[in-house]
């Protein structure tokens, strides 16, 4: 009997999923869906919002809000990080109509949700529009999609990049700390001669490479309101790819897979001397290479020509409000508190190592202290400077997960001697265009 049920349910499932799919794509799915619905306070009565995020210990931050706002209670839901499953869950929930009110979305994933018309345009909320000046300009650029009135998230954290380096080893071997990429390549030769590697080239962190390209002036995607342009192989990006390819070919960088114990060990044992990484990388080294306490310092990212002041960014996320939310105004209020108030930013930094996206946030008391692992250097001052040097006009594409996967396959081949980084980017370019087309997203050939 149960078996009949099972057969029946299988049939039902098919039917249901079909209708769900077709009703999803039938409605107002176009990117130009007219002015956003109004952003006004809900009528009287307390409101409960759901907020899905994977920031560790964020419950403790939200508890501070709930204590002060009895009429807007926020319930935290959690899951793995975005690409680990939460983004797919968001898409499923949008389809099924039970998405949370608020969700954490990284900058590089926002356009994907925008294209699927899943996000509420917070630009319609006067409180959000007014908050613009509190944010570091480029972080605001990351959440502004289409024209300036389209604000699809409140910037939460950022990952300005800098150079982590083993000050002791550089000094002992008489190698000057590189200020330009040319000096960095020259130093790489000397480091190799001294028995180490200047750094480990990551074969799977394409967003790190994106940070390098971002700094150099590469612009991978653009959208003119009608269609997308994909340009993973513009001249600036090619310059970066050739630069690293050269270091890989000469075997001046190691190529162990990142985020493994092997990789930690390369730093812990002094085999790798530098890492060009984001502000959150400070904790990765401290926990992965505990034997090197006090020996690391942080300097500005190497520049393409001497005297330039430009930095890249790696990571960072926003708090977005989903279109299905019945209380967008209250949700926006909470998102603003979470990402601009000194109380929340302080807690987020303390509990989860988040680096704020607001100008005032970069001078939190906790970020003005020296860090013992870095010989008491006030490393966050360097990152605060870097945060002001990130170009504001870097746009992500709507299918970054696929782009990352494709590029990463090519990068893995390149580090093992098959093909080059440029080949990998060329292939990723072609497959990205294919992915966009397969999702019926207009794209220029």
């Amino acid at each position: 009997m149960r078996t009949t049920l099972r057969a029946l349910s299988a049939t039902l499932v098919c039917a249901l999923s079909l209708t769900a799919c077709s009703s999803g794509s039938g409605g107002d799915a176009g990117p130009a869906a007219g002015p956003a619905s109004a952003c006004a306070p809900s009528s009287a009565g307390p409101v409960t919002l759901t907020f899905t995020t994977w920031i560790p210990k964020i419950e403790e931050v939200v508890a501070a809000w709930n204590a002060k706002n009895p009429n807007i209670q926020v319930k935290v839901q959690t899951g793995p990080n975005g690409n680990g499953g939460t983004y797919q869950n968001f898409f499923n929930q949008l389809k099924a109509g039970n998405a949370p009110d608020l969700g954490q979305i990284e900058y590089d994933a926002l356009p994907g949700f925008r294209v699927q018309d899943g996000l509420f345009n917070l630009g319609a909320c006067d409180i959000v529009a007014k908050a613009k000046d509190q944010f570091i300009p480029w972080t605001w650029g990351q959440v502004t999609l289409g024209d300036a009135s389209g604000v699809y998230g409140v910037p939460q954290d950022s990952g300005p990049m800098a150079l982590f380096y083993r000050a002791d080893l550089f000094e002992k071997n008489g190698i000057p700390v590189p200020k330009t990429w040319d000096e960095y390549a020259a130093a790489a030769e000397k480091v190799r001669a001294a028995g180490g590697y200047i750094t480990n080239f990551s074969q799977s962190d394409i967003n790190q490479f994106a940070g390098f390209a971002w700094q150099a002036g590469g612009r991978w995607f653009s959208n003119d309101g009608q269609q997308w342009t994909v340009n993973l192989t513009d001249d600036k990006t090619k310059k970066v790819a050739d630069y690293w390819q050269n270091l890989i070919s000469k075997k001046l960088v190691s190529t162990v897979p990142p985020w493994t114990t092997e990789w930690d060990n390369a730093y812990n044992s002094g085999q790798a001397w530098t890492w060009i990484s984001a502000v959150w990388g400070a904790n990765s080294i401290a926990s992965g290479a505990p034997k090197t306490t006090g020996k690391w310092r942080v300097a500005e990212m190497p520049q393409w020509s001497a005297g330039e002041k430009s930095a890249g960014n790696w990571g960072g996320s926003s708090t977005a409000v989903f279109k299905s939310s019945k209380h967008p105004y209250e949700a926006a209020q909470f998102a603003l508190w979470l990402n601009t108030s000194e109380e929340a930013l302080g807690l987020l930094n303390e509990k989860a190592n988040l680096y704020p996206a607001t100008t005032a946030g970069t001078s939190l008391p906790a970020l003005a202290k020296g860090v013992a692992f870095y010989g008491d250097q006030k490393i966050y001052e360097t990152f605060a400077t870097a945060a002001t040097q990130v170009a504001p006009d870097f746009t992500w594409g709507p299918t970054m997960t696929a782009t990352y996967t494709n590029a990463s396959d090519g990068f893995k081949a390149a580090v093992s001697g098959k093909g080059t980084l440029t080949d990998a980017l060329t292939a990723a370019q072609a497959s990205t265009i294919k992915t966009l087309k397969s999702q019926a997203i207009p794209v220029k050939e």
């Binding site: 009997m1 149960r2 078996t3 009949t4 099972r6 057969a7 349910s9 299988a10 039902l12 499932v13 098919c14 249901l16 999923s17 769900a20 899905t52 994977w54 920031i55 560790p56 210990k57 839901q77 959690t78 899951g79 793995p80 990080n81 680990g84 499953g85 797919q88 869950n89 499923n92 929930q93 389809k95 099924a96 109509g97 039970n98 949370p100 985020w259 114990t261 930690d264 060990n265 812990n268 959150w280 904790n283 990765s284 401290a286 926990s287 992965g288 290479a289 505990p290 034997k291 989860a352 190592n353 988040l354």
Partner: protein, 279 residues
């Protein structure tokens, strides 16, 4: 005699290599779980440094008010509950298919059999959409109810019932005035017991390892099974590096119920596998 010795040595060698191959990751996990995070990267991966297993377990249980224990309890509830009930359902279903003649029996059985071929992963999203319609996602039932179904168990139960429960015995029970349900519980289940344990074990492992369904259904951390909880932590390691140590200790603890279940029930496991293979 010499040849015999040679082939035996070869066989032992192959077995030894396999044993090492399968046990090294478990050994690695155990050794890793006893180290502090500093020693985890700093010392050899396959031998002990300072033995801190109990401190590590303490840290794990203290983290976030013991949410890990909650996950373990959830896993046991999902798994034991679904495996017990699912075994009962599969046994009844297989027994009915084996012992009663009715129209459409073979068709029904074939439909069930084809269910074996549908991977649980493929059903997760449709199930999510169905549960969304009745507003039941993100609840205990969203994971529990779909886990009750076990077509392979039905197949095993049918095969075993037709070979181990003689029709004459059922006939005798009927003549003595026993109802069908009573006969099933008092007579047939006793005879089918080894198969039931096997079904239970298979089901237990399948539900314990089912990761995608809870991933899609649940967003309330208090409802997570331990697999999803540990995976969630593991994706947060970049942000909070100390989570890596917790994930390793947690993984070690999370496989212990499986190991215990296997050690206690392995003879049933073996006999059940044999029964399924010959028929």
């Amino acid at each position: 005699m010499r040849e015999n010795l040679l082939s035996r040595t070869a066989a032992m060698l192959v077995m030894a290599v396999c044993t090492v191959y399968f046990l090294v990751p478990v050994w690695w996990l155990f050794v890793g779980a006893t180290k502090s995070s500093e020693q985890f990267t700093g010392t050899g991966a396959l031998w002990f440094a300072d033995f801190r297993l109990f401190d590590n377990i303490g840290d794990l249980l203290a983290y976030r008010d013991g949410v890990f224990l909650r996950w373990m309890a959830n896993s046991l509830a999902y798994t034991c509950g679904a495996a017990l009930l699912g075994t009962l359902l599969a046994a009844m279903c297989g027994y009915a298919l084996a012992k009663y003649r009715f129209r459409g029996r073979e068709v029904l059985f074939n439909v069930v059999l084809s269910g074996v071929l549908v991977p649980a992963t493929a059903l997760a999203l449709p199930l999510f959409l169905m549960f969304s319609k009745i507003d039941a996602t993100n609840t205990f039932w969203a994971v529990f109810l779909p886990s009750l179904v076990n077509p392979f168990g039905v197949y095993l139960a049918r095969v075993y019932a037709s070979s181990s429960v003689p029709d004459e015995l059922l006939e005798a029970a009927r003549i003595d005035g026993s109802g069908e349900v009573r006969t099933f519980f008092k007579v047939s289940t006793k005879l089918m017991f080894p198969a039931l344990v096997t079904i239970f074990l298979f089901h237990f492992v399948a539900v314990w390892n089912n990761f995608l369904l809870p991933l899609i259904m649940l967003s309330n951390e208090r409802l997570f099974p331990v697999t999803l909880g540990l995976f969630t932590w593991n994706t947060q390691v970049n942000q909070l590096p100390q989570l890596r140590g917790l994930v390793i200790v947690g993984s070690l603890l999370s496989i212990t119920p499986l190991v215990v279940a296997f050690l206690l029930l392995q003879r049933f496991w073996r006999s059940g596998l044999g029964a399924g293979a010959v028929k």
